[in-house]
Symmetry: C2
Subunit: 332 residues, 2 copies
């Protein structure tokens, strides 16, 4: 997607986004995906102008993931209902992995349904993003887009499909990661047991209405989780819900908020967001310049130390390192 015509005034755009102007928000997301150099400069200026306290310590970045068919979109829809009742505004980024074979869109239809159910209400904003593969795809912009959404909404929810996929590692850009399993979905539990899948902060078994199968899956998950602790010390809860019947959704919303409170109490919310930004920058540098580039820029550990102390926008910090690397390149 390309911003057609003239570029926006970045400061006016930032103010309009912070005021939750829907057209401005849509325009800002297009701008963040525009690769032209002058658009990139405008986007960097826009990001740098967003109110930093909202990006650092306010709002709640929630990642929801799970295999296709687990009912993530209906669960999202049910959660939106609860959050709206609580007076919270919600922005949704749905990252849709394109099929290497069919190029098909998984989430499109369900998102249109979601937009139909909630879209007329000004407090919900939904944006679907195609993920165009391992390198250089739109997925690279999920982090800056999350920041723009954080400036506007109380809750920013990133939805993606997958089990332990690295491309869109939602655990590296969400305050709280929530994995949705369906009853009798053996593979996910096997991946979790085997340590191939990262342990989320909250595990949800959807389709509680399926009865015995759901209870069995919940028991298995709870047993598995006893052995797999979140490294930071958070006790991972496993909940059963039914998105369709609406049971357990209030409790899930409370649990999500409980994890945010826990992060705040342990002084982890802003620290982790700084780490996410550092990881985003290092990952993009690695994609652009490889292991060689990371070494020449002082190594990963050095870059993390430097970047977690910095407060610039992701594009500004990235460009500074990029320019430093390129001064050593000589075309013959």
């Amino acid at each position: 997607m390309t911003v057609r015509g003239t570029l926006p005034d970045p400061e006016a755009l930032a103010a309009a986004v912070a005021a939750r102007d829907r057209a401005a928000l849509a325009r800002s997301l297009n701008l963040l995906d525009d690769r032209r150099p002058q658009a990139r400069r405008c986007a960097a200026h826009f990001l740098a102008t967003l109110p930093s306290e909202k990006l650092d310590v306010e709002g709640h970045l929630i990642g929801i993931t799970g295999p296709p068919g687990a009912g993530k979109s209906s669960l999202t829809s049910a959660l939106i209902g609860v959050w709206q009742q609580r007076g919270l505004s919600v922005g949704i980024l749905a990252v849709d992995p394109s099929s290497p074979l069919s190029g098909g869109a998984l989430l499109g239809d369900r998102l249109r349904m979601l937009a139909h159910d909630h879209g007329s209400n000004g407090s919900v904003f939904i944006r679907s993003l195609a993920c165009r593969g391992e390198f250089g795809g739109l997925s690279a912009e999920v982090w800056p887009m999350s920041l723009a959404m954080l400036a506007a909404f109380d809750i920013v929810l990133i939805e993606t499909v997958g089990v332990g996929q690295k491309e869109i590692d939602i655990s590296k850009m969400s305050d709280t990661t929530c994995f949705v399993a369906q009853p009798a979905s053996g593979d996910s539990i096997q991946f979790l047991k085997a340590g191939i899948m990262e342990v989320p902060h909250i595990l949800v078994v959807n389709k509680e209405d399926m009865g015995a199968a759901a209870r069995k899956t919940l028991t298995e998950l709870r047993f598995t989780l006893k052995k797999q602790m979140d490294p930071a010390g958070w006790q991972v809860p496993a909940l059963a819900v039914s998105a369709v019947k609406g049971t357990g959704i209030e409790k899930l919303a409370d649990t999500l908020d409980g994890h945010r409170q826990w992060l705040v109490e342990h002084d982890l919310l802003d620290t982790r967001r700084k780490q996410f930004q550092a990881e985003w920058i290092v990952k993009r540098l690695r994609e652009e310049f490889g292991r060689f580039g990371i070494e020449k820029l002082g190594g990963e550990q050095h870059l993390f130390q430097v970047l977690t102390q910095r407060s610039g926008s992701p594009f500004d910090e990235y460009d500074a390192l990029r320019d430093g690397f390129l001064t050593h390149w000589q075309e013959s």
Copy 2:
């Protein structure tokens, strides 16, 4: 793993490997994983000396993958039995994804069992490889190790755990890719349906002895496969087997061989192996020098065109491109 002491004579080592000398084979795999510059040169010489007709058009590189718990190791063990009866020698590379959290080894124990069952017989060779993460891990050496194994064995089987994982994409290094599902393993089928998982050449539902659940999974897979064709035109078969009871294993061995025959008849065996090598080289260049490096070397398409025409060893071809890139780098 590092080769201790002096480096081997690469030509003598290649001859010993081609003669299926087990100690030489073990030593060659260590050499291929040795990062020291002089070891790398020795390894390049070793690879260049292996009999090229064995690497180009002989043997059968088979990749077996599937979620943990699907019974891949028991299936491998059952297949070894059939292949031995048919007088075929078998080399196995088991790639074990380390857990990001526990660092645990998934396959180790089962492999020791396999080695115990078959290892005393000179016609089977088993090697387990840890996969140390996304970049620079041992997994990078699976392709050169497969070549060393191809020089020695009729069948080289690469076993790995996963569903649609990109790190060890065995479909990019196997003549024939076989996915093992277990009955009622909904997630794998969902990934396949959604096009997130690449379609393998052969789909196996293990644990046929589970009865109705296995039949249902087989029916679902067959229905899904009708819509998802292998791009080259191969009709993907779905088979039910029981590794534990030994049923369907002969037929699976026939089907695997049938796919190899199909590749030979369509002139695809050597073409695909050349592509695997080109992909291996381009992937490693991308890891080392990033998108920037690939562009500066003429772009991915150009590199593929050049590399699929070349017949050098993977290390020699890689080093030539690497050196070309580095001439443009100026330390200040």
